[in-house]
Amino acid sequence: MNETQKLLLVLLISIEIAFTQSVYLNLLLILISIIILIISKSSIKSFVRLILVCILPTIGSFTSFYFFGTGEAVQRIHFASVMTTRVVAYVFMGAAFMANMILYKLLRSLEQNVKMSATFVYGILGALNFIPKIIKAIRTIRAVGLMRGEVLYFWSPKLYFKAITQALVWSNNLAMAMTSHGFEEGERRSYHEQFPTKLSGWIIILVIMLFIQYCLFVAKLW
């Protein structure tokens, strides 16, 4: 499966579970995502982080649908469970997807397979490469502040003003350099590495989606 297909599969499943109300299917998806995360050797730390991320939205959705929903208690429990497991399924599916894709490959494969604009692809890549620089710049600005007798706290507007000004200068310099290196918006580019969609990938997507339909509409795992 290539990165575009992975993204497509995750999106399709997400849309499907957004409109259906199966607790079992959601639980199954969570379980599979956890297995994928374990196989891809995710650290305990990242599991803890995922669980922490889940806590607030799960408690929030469960309590609001159970206590403030309409209908019988059984219905409310079912609906609250659907909502809660859905949130967790989204978080874990997203994590499983992220753990198995390389952003560079994803963007390049979107560029090749769904003709996403190269400006967008390199804009995002450039911006991501800037993130460590910006973090370093903020640290440097604070150090410079101290050397120049000014304590800049993390809420000081001056700190952010400086960081933004630097980012503007950098982005302009980078844009100039990219132009000088032959990058022109809307022009044809070649691909050093091809990221074609694979037949096996389409088959996997088809099988998984059929299986989900089976669970939902034939086995009626609600």
């Binding site: 620089k133 101290l146 050397m147 350099a177 132009t179 000088s180 032959g182």
Partner: protein
Amino acid sequence: MTTLKTDHLNIKINEQLILKDISLAIRPGQFILLVGESGCGKSTLMTALAGLYPKYGGELSQTVLLDKQNIANIKANFRAKKVAMLFQHPDQQFAMDRVEDELIFSLENLSLSKQDIDIRINEALRAVGIESLRYSELAYLSGGELQKVALAETLAMGAEIILLDEPFAAVDPIHRQELQLLLKKLADQGHGILVADHDTSDYRTLITDVFCIKNKTLHQIETHEFDTMFNQHSVQKLLTNKPIEELAFSMADVTIKNGDMFILKKSYFKWAKQKVTLITGPNGIGKSSLLLTFARLHVFEGELLYQKQSINKLSLKKYARLVGLVFQNAMNQFLNINVREEIEQAQQQSRYPEYWTETKVTKSIQRLNLTGLSEHSVYELSGGQQKKLQLLLMMIISPETLLLDEPLAGLDKKSVQIVMSIIKEVINDLNQTVIMISHQTDGIAKYVDYHVHFSQNGLTYEETIS
């Protein structure tokens, strides 16, 4: 064969006339050196010649012609095969995070096939001698290494005319000579080369023409005037070389790493107090990381003492006022928008306000040729002006110890002497310590007390600067 040409060109930026009546042609086989004081408009001219104006700001009165075509109207992917530019800030010219990916990016822009891309990358990396950096992350490379990557990228694209804006500001003398010879070879192979450099040393036998920007216009310098123009490298002997008495820093069992690479391993070393110590050494050896360690901006293991106290035990706020760093990239030093605000801030926070009186500050501004810039944005200043302002600010702040990372980069010969004499004068008056890194060492021996050479074998004191 490609020719880049312009006649009677005026360039304005933000409605301000920067250059006037410029006529210049770059032909295959020419190796042109462009000189001029910092802030005279070298970068502006280069940017215009590269076809980046008016898209990126400047306003041109005439067209720049690439083989009779207006270069600004040629699409970037076609233009890059003919003309390419190397920028002054090596760390701001790459879109990707790894060397190979960056080269692939530029070659994909030219719509080349995979085979062609691989061949060109191999050739370009070999030509510049950086095959070992192919899979490196750009974030871990030194300024000099980054410029080599940029040059390899230009070569890979096959640009016939190469414009280089202060490409050697952060490059050590050995690599500088290598790259100069490489440029000469490229010129001999039919490339047209224009290089802006404040430091004229070692060019004499290589170049075909010299141009100088003065009073906003471009002059060609005749061959008989060359003698006064070119710096000659010579071995300089230090004036003083007494044993070190008092210590600023002392290192015991200190290990410093950059990423996974060791910079210093279990090093023992002493740094003199109230003296000027110069650090030299090849690119990427870790000179900047060493200064960052002194400034507590880089982690280390072992024991590092500042005036007999472990630096990590001192409060950060207090320490920052005692030990100040002048960053390699001047932009890091600024906290405000315009020059006046910067200077006022420094005066308010100075440790010696009675020394840095209004007259003293004004006089220093004059000596550094920064007069009349007070309402200018610090981001609009030229590279050289930024360096001088940055240094002045930290001199006014007057920490006990000043760490200077390439304070002379991008400065012309005259400015180097002025900057060094100001440093020397102030630190004598205020009993400060200076530890400075510089690749540019011409004519500075008389200001230096100690010279430390940083090599693969670590740090060693030397009595000469070569």
